[in-house]
Amino acid sequence: MNAFRAILGKDLRVELRTLQSVPAMALFSVTTFVIFRYGLDRTTLSGSLAAGVLLATVLFAAILAINRLFVAEHDEGGFDAIRLAPVDGSALLAAKATALVVYLVVLEAIAVPVFGTFFLDDWAGLAPLAGVLVLVDAGLAATGVLVSSIAANSRARDLLVPLLLLPLLVPMLIAAANAAEPMLSAGGPSYAGTGKWLAILALYDVVFLLVGYAVYDFLLED
């Protein structure tokens, strides 16, 4: 637990001092919204289109952070330090995943209101949407940590993360988009089938958290 807190504190402090992930993600998200505004040639969005634009943007923005998640550990010898220290490797996994969730929550706190301002007539759906986004963040953290730690030790780091991560995220995107769609529908939020989709999202999160926990030691060992 101490190791977890130390690594998480270190990561958040590094992020606060260098500001290398979250501002880039926020800027990227706003730019992507502008791209979608002209790409789709729409000034308001609702339903499945709104859910798709928002979730695809969050997902691509998350890739920016996931790319950078283990760069410092790899370049500055953090992995070796963790291996030397008498702590469980899962502390690193949990701390990185939590840091990623924090980045994503901050990103969404910026990006979702911007999205609402740009595209939505009715903000009522955004509050329940937060629940969906929390589950999305957990799923992104679980898969992102795995993929990022694999990619950090390879030659083609920036290439591998999106290549491995995007297909892994498709089921999560399906569930999240379907859960978010009725919440963002034009006539005000409705909750048709929300329970089923949230259950699938939660199942996805649990499965990949368990997989991560089971295999993580093998990613560290050397």
């Binding site: 898969t143 795995l146 030659r155 290549l163 892994l168 089921p171 699938i200 089971a214 295999v215 990613l219």
Partner: protein
């Protein structure tokens, strides 16, 4: 049980597949709705079943590799995925042909099984860039196993999510209102499935044998050239056990 030699298994595979397709064309009745084109079912479904089963087998080998650290399990996991990805290409092609014949389009998005399979295929296709991007052999094997396990867990999840998202319009040859396929279709299908499973294992064994042979060859070549060290294995299947080169 004695495992037959690769040559014997290849002969059995050819015989069973030939018998299966003979049954398909001369014994099984034409489908009442879809007519002759439904025969592709006897090729498409066994291919898909074997490919998916192969991904699961790869995940099991990967677990064993991580537990024991024995590189032979990694080689098996790699070859299982490799053959299953090749089967996957065939599944997508035959599925596409069937879709064209049944629904008039080469690709149908509201067809959960085909779409799930495409996503699974895309994920497993990234196995190759992942492997080749990691230079250190042990680490490559370990990370590939982690990937195989993660992707193995992904396969059922993906099918759940895609199936939940779409209406069921895939031709359900197994479960019709009358309670399933007629027995003649079942017999033909079972023989085809057995033949395809034999083909899959045959190809896996063949590739493993080829890899271990080429590893042995490169070791012998190095020994001939007078190098003193013994390098392990080929680039993609490190450390396939084979007899140590004789000192010469």
């Amino acid at each position: 049980m004695r495992i037959p030699s690769l040559r014997a298994q290849a002969a059995i595979t050819v015989a069973v597949l030939a018998a299966g397709f003979a049954l398909v064309f001369f014994y099984a009745p034409n489908d009442a709705d879809q007519g002759f084109i439904q025969k592709i079912f006897y090729l498409h479904v066994p291919l898909a079943t074997c490919a998916l089963a192969g991904f699961i087998v790869a995940a099991i080998h990967a677990i064993r590799h991580l537990r024991t650290g024995d590189a032979v399990h990694d080689a098996r996991s790699y070859v299982s995925i490799h053959i299953s990805v090749i089967f996957g290409v065939a599944v997508l092609l035959t599925g596409s042909i069937w879709a064209r014949a049944s629904w008039g389009k080469w690709w149908v998005w509201d067809e959960p099984t085909l779409v799930s399979f495409l996503i699974v295929f895309l994920l497993y296709a990234t196995y190759y860039p992942l492997r080749y991007a990691i230079e250190d052999r042990d680490r490559q094997a370990r990370y590939a196993s982690v990937f195989a396990i993660t992707a193995g867990a992904f396969v059922p999840l993906n099918f759940i999510a895609v199936r939940a998202a779409q209406s069921l319009v895939h031709p359900r040859v197994f479960a019709t209102a009358e309670g399933g396929m007629p027995p003649r279709m079942w017999i033909a299908f079972t023989v085809c499935l057995a033949g395809m499973a034999l083909l899959w294992t045959c190809l896996v064994r063949f590739e493993l044998a080829a890899k271990s042979a080429s590893a042995k060859l490169s070791r012998l070549r190095r020994a001939l050239e007078g190098e003193t060290y013994v390098a392990s294995g080929s680039r993609i299947a490190p450390g396939i056990p084979s007899r140590a080169p004789s000192p010469s």
